[in-house]
Symmetry: C2
Subunit: 330 residues, 2 copies
């Protein structure tokens, strides 16, 4: 019932309009409320290529690295090493490149022994190739890659430090194993380590490569690696060797500087002798080093020049492990 | 006398003209020859600010460095050190900042014992100030400065290596003596070395300064130093100390990065005990370290902020002095 307003015909119309609009507004609010309740939950998504990652994965792509470990015939070592590496701070994910063709991965067993600190992805390969580890894996979300051989154990301290060094030299291969090439009067190059003649630039030795079997490098180089001349792939496949030398050529060509930065490891171990498989690494083959000299010369041929440059910078961690490791008898 | 040509009047004119022009040409050639003989000899001049340098000075300004050594009351050490440093490869010139006010420099004796590998300039000072060595000397022709205390001997090997490192980090102070500041809960800073608490960024120690008493840095920073706030100069003059801390503040503010890069010296010696003068350095004063903590806090005040940044990078020379100094028990 109306009050004194009702007596006016215009106001009667006004009241009906007011009622109508009120009802419409209330209905709209109810519908909006219902829609809001039905919206999907927006996930916290810092990663460029979002996937369904567990909520524990909070490290951003810039502050962490991906471990890529290729494995062949040493699953016992692989699992031992995974237990160690999975707990390294700033590790984002592990990619295991499974070169055991036709053999089941240990994924089931891995999952049954969860939870794990980070996701581990087993990439099953179809052919047992050395360069399988240099694919541009879509699972890669970080800028930094840590590449490790499946028989090499590097301490968490060394890795944390080397990662901090890589962040200061992101265009270089920052790692623990330095090697060099030398020139001979004939113009033919030879590959080796400190037992080889110094290149002769001042006193001391020089290195021109850092091996990728224990090193950090930018994931962009995996992308670059897919765009190399065919003969490079043929060389690596023919020798089942030298993918790391090829990567050093690639990086040196890209930067015009020494490809690597050598970080002196405090605790690096080769667990090869500990394997039950009896399988010993490729580097035991009689022709291994000769092959690598061969690869250096082939790559110079393919790229029409020697891009590797020498460096004598050796980086260690100030005050670690000995808090006065820089003290001198001043 | 002419021949058959003379009979023609036109040709008579031609002959006279020919003779005349021949004579003119010959005279001009003679004058040109005389002038050429009289021209001064053009000196080989690669240096931007050319001065009358002896012909032995062939190192370009980019490939060499200038040693600046300030001296007070230790002329015997100075001369001993000059004999060592004057022979360092890639040394361009020595500037001795003579803080012995009113005392004659050893220039006469120096000259009488010539020839010397490089020029040595004695800059006589009017007041004995610590910051005299931080003037923008017009004698400076190189991009790089090596600053040395007058009681410090660093081996030629260390200097050659550190210079090569400086060329890779030209905006940093590259030297042999690292120090740090630490923050305390009260917000007051303290200055020290490895005996002080680690700053707590991961394991191991950190340094935030490299002292200029044994270091390479860019000569441009001497120019910058002339443009600092007056209280900085007052602080250095008041304490007769801390010019090196001030330089580290300057460099850190300029780069936004750690001011220094520490190169671990193989052979660095303090010859202080060898002086006949009995004069012992400023750092023996009881208040020396306390003064330096005081300076850190004053500079933070003057610059309204703490610009120093930490680093834990320690650089050594690969394969020197031990040719396998990077070998590990892999």
């Amino acid at each position: 019932r109306c009050f004194h307003f009702c007596k006016l015909p215009g106001r009667v119309m006004g009241i009906r309009l007011l009622r109508f609009t009120s009802v419409v507004i209330i209905v709209l609010l109810l519908v909006a409320g219902a829609l809001t309740a039905l919206l999907p939950t927006i996930k916290d998504d810092k990663l460029p290529n979002s996937r369904r990652e567990p909520k524990t994965q909070s490290q951003s792509a810039l502050d962490s690295f991906t471990l890529i470990m290729q494995t062949y015939n040493r699953t016992d070592l692989l699992l031992k090493l995974l237990n160690h590496y999975q707990a390294i701070p700033q590790l984002h994910k592990v990619i295991v490149v499974w070169n055991n063709i036709g053999e089941k991965t240990p994924e089931e067993m891995w999952n049954s022994l969860g939870p794990h600190p980070v996701p581990v992805v087993f990439k099953v390969q179809t052919v047992n190739r050395m360069r399988n580890r240099l694919q541009n894996f879509p699972d890669l979300e970080t800028k930094a890659v840590l590449m490790m051989d499946d028989d090499t154990l590097v301490s968490a301290h060394d890795l944390a430090f080397a990662f901090s060094v890589w962040k200061q030299f992101p265009e270089h291969i920052v790692g623990f194993v330095p090697r060099k090439h030398i020139s001979t009067p004939s113009g033919v190059y030879s590959y080796g380590s400190f037992e080889l003649q110094n290149p002769g630039f001042g006193n001391g030795d020089q290195y021109s490569m850092v091996l990728i079997g224990a090193a950090f490098f930018h994931s962009g180089y995996l992308e670059d690696f897919q765009r190399q001349p065919e003969p490079v792939y043929a060389l690596i496949d023919e020798t089942q060797n030298c993918d790391d030398i090829a990567m050093n050529f690639l990086v040196a060509r890209h930067t015009g500087k020494p490809s690597g930065v050598f970080v002196k490891p405090v605790d690096i171990r080769n667990l090869e002798k500990d394997t039950n498989s009896g399988y010993s690494g490729m580097w035991h083959r009689a022709e291994h080093l000769l092959q690598r000299s061969y690869c250096v010369n082939k790559l110079v041929n393919i790229y029409d020049g020697m891009p590797l440059k020498y460096s004598n910078i050796m980086i260690s961690q100030f005050g670690f492990p000995n808090y006065a490791n820089h003290k001198n008898k001043m």
